[in-house]
Symmetry: C2
Subunit: 432 residues, 2 copies
């Protein structure tokens, strides 16, 4: 598989759910998501790979080097996610899956043209619902896979229209029952979604750790009344109080060094949402992220005090609940070094970089040695149609991922250091 074939495939998939301004809209378990899954399946079947779908809609393509083995041979897993945000970009997630498929094809050719076979299998994954735009929380499929979220609980999650994950997956024919592969190690390549690599003209980021993140589920309860006939003094307007909360969530970042904390409210529902009725209830989700857990904790405490003051001032009730708390995750030093070594060998400039955004690799890193890499993003924008990465940067990432896949097949991150080709299957790292 050549770089040209990769680019051709990448740009073909970008046509699925394409939006007018070069983005894509392929939220989890929608008809558009189904179409990308069919494309993934067709790619795998053309290569003769086995395709599996598990109970939370994760889709795997397995390159079996041990068809004669009894039981499940652990695999080196490459991948990311094909779902997108509403009016999202065409690179976020899709790049990592298509890169994984092409890397796997090259690796299979390399293995089958040689005489030694690796001790492990190779697989590519399209994780379900990384984005969390339709069904919260995000990083759902990989977190269920890693045992960090409960499958039954996630299948019961509903979108704003009341459709459950189970119903949505059934509707597109992707509520699977296949066995999950055992993972020896995991590698993912993704766009940076920031400006650091672009600013420094660096081709590759070896991700060393993820930011600490948490969300606040905030419910503001006022009293419904007539907008025209209710005296201002008699109102308990949930939307006025919620607007104050939104501004506090925004302004709290100013308490810390520039960009040490990012915060936002991205989701809000209003009841009854009638032009001439004072709102009785607003539900919103605030998102706090920092490299340093202490900053998030301090911002959270500040917000809780401010929210309490708003509730008293407006005579409304405000319920706040922590959820989706994600600790800093450190990727293994051996994997970071592996990425740096491979980049150096291929003549690719690289640096260590942290991720502010969550990724499937953050979940996978909990159960298997994981390598996470970034390629540059133009202007650092993502989750929008104008998200962009240049073809040459995409191609470089595929080359690095392929070589890392080769080292992983040779056991580069196995507990023993380097396992020989044809050696034993991965040990503790593969446990789930």
């Amino acid at each position: 598989m050549t770089p040209e074939q990769f680019l051709s495939d990448f740009h073909e998939v970008a046509q699925i759910g394409a939006t007018p301004n070069q983005g894509v809209d392929r939220q989890a378990a929608t008809p558009e998501d189904r179409l990308t899954r069919e494309w993934f399946r067709a790619f795998a079947e053309r290569r003769g790979w086995e395709v599996r779908v598990d109970g939370i809609g994760n889709q795997f393509a397995i390159v079996d080097f041990h068809p004669d083995a009894a039981g499940d041979t652990p695999c080196v897993l490459l991948g990311s996610h094909l779902d997108s945000q509403p009016l999202g970009g065409r690179f976020d997630g899709a790049y990592g899956v298509i890169a994984g498929l092409h890397a796997a094809a090259r690796l299979e050719d390399r293995v089958r043209s040689g005489d030694a076979r690796p001790a492990v299998n190779l697989a590519v994954v399209n994780w379900f619902n990384e984005e969390g735009g339709r069904f919260a929380p995000s990083i759902m499929g990989s977190s269920v896979f890693a045992g960090l979220m409960d499958e039954a609980e996630m299948l019961a999650v509903r979108d704003l229209a009341g459709v459950s994950v189970r119903e949505a997956l059934e509707a597109i024919g992707y509520l699977g029952t296949d066995a999950r592969p055992t993972v020896a190690s995991y590698a993912e390549v993704h766009i940076e979604q920031g400006r650091i690599l672009e600013r420094e003209s660096t081709q590759l980021g070896a991700v060393d750790y993820s930011w600490y993140t948490q969300k606040l589920d905030i419910e503001v309860l006022g009293e419904q009344s007539h907008t025209g006939a209710t005296a201002m003094a008699d109102r308990h307007d949930a939307l006025v109080a919620a607007s104050q909360v939104i501004l506090k969530v925004h302004d709290v970042t100013a308490r810390y060094e520039a960009e040490a904390l990012v915060s936002s409210v991205g989701q809000l529902t209003l009841e009854p949402n009638s032009p001439i009725v004072v709102a009785r209830r607003v539900h919103l989700v605030a998102d706090l992220r920092a490299a340093d857990q202490a900053i998030v904790a301090d911002a959270r405490a500040t917000l809780l005090e401010q929210i309490d003051a708003i509730a008293r001032e407006r005579d409304v009730k405000i319920n706040v609940r922590d959820f989706d708390v994600r600790d800093n995750q450190h990727y293994p030093e051996s994997g970071i070094r592996l990425a740096e070594e491979v980049a150096a060998e291929l003549g690719v400039s690289a640096r260590r970089i942290r991720t502010m955004a969550g990724h499937d690799s953050v979940a996978m890193n909990r159960i298997a040695p994981t390598v996470m890499m970034f390629v540059p993003s133009v202007d650092g924008v993502s989750h929008c149609e104008r998200e962009f990465t240049r073809d040459e940067d995409l191609v470089t990432g595929v080359a690095v991922l392929t070589e890392i896949g080769w080292r992983l097949l040779q056991g580069a991150l196995e507990p023993s250091g380097v396992a020989g080709v044809g050696g034993a299957a991965a040990g503790a790292g593969a446990a789930r």
Copy 2:
């Protein structure tokens, strides 16, 4: 029809679409709205009255005193609306329709037991979509009837789910084709939705004029981006800017005497509404009302300046459009005096009162002599489940409406002053 029968009917209708806390949820053209319409139809048919439904879903029951007349005999029209806000109260609107039906029944008995018949007919109306919670603008059915809104344009209005008025009316079987009756005069009784009558222990309000009102349609356009990975300095967050706008709309009332201006934002939609995406677009509706048009104009000008400053500060685009502008409407002095006279004769305490809320009578007053009356509201709350009016106040209102209907049948508000029983049909007031 006795007061007990009225109360029995009133409380029966309150069971249709009843909510857990004594309210009702019967938005326009929903299955619950259909059920109240069936109840209205059954009431009329039991009395042998003709039922008509026009092209915008207004429902009429006609008591024909001139079955032998060629052409359409003008009618004295009584009524209000049976639709409600989401989780609305059981009095707002429904009271006026059921009061109208019972008043008409008593008036028919009185006419048929005498030997003189009025020159005009009598009719009761259930106006379509007074509330405007599902389909904006409010006061839709009566405004189309009065020629103030275009029927085809209103049939094309869509709710937040994309369903048009035409589709919704067809779905409940109430997109009619019947001829509209010609109206000689109109009378409506409604709950106050304020505290003035209650505070002064007055049984009846003779409404003299309506407040000046207008809405602002506000669209905030930012840029969609990743909540986790976008630097705070690089964001163009539509929801942060919208929250500032909402607070300005609230705070602008403080520039004037207490309660001289009321304002609110009751409707808001957010795109893409994903917990981990910075909002690209917020659409909201602001509502401004004052007795004095100059105050609304001044507040609007202040807000436009403030909104412009917010757009510059946040580097977003904010489009503002005026809509649903409603001038002060003065009810005819002769009608106000008629209500005062009737109240005095029945031993009912009364006062003149303005309406801050819009009503179907505001539209009807544009094309026919109109009498509008209020009965007290406990705590002045409305558009909510705990809206409440005492049975004795409801009964008093029906008695007054009945007597006013009698005077109107005798031509009390006709251009000539008082038309004789059996005299000519109403003149200019009936024109449409």
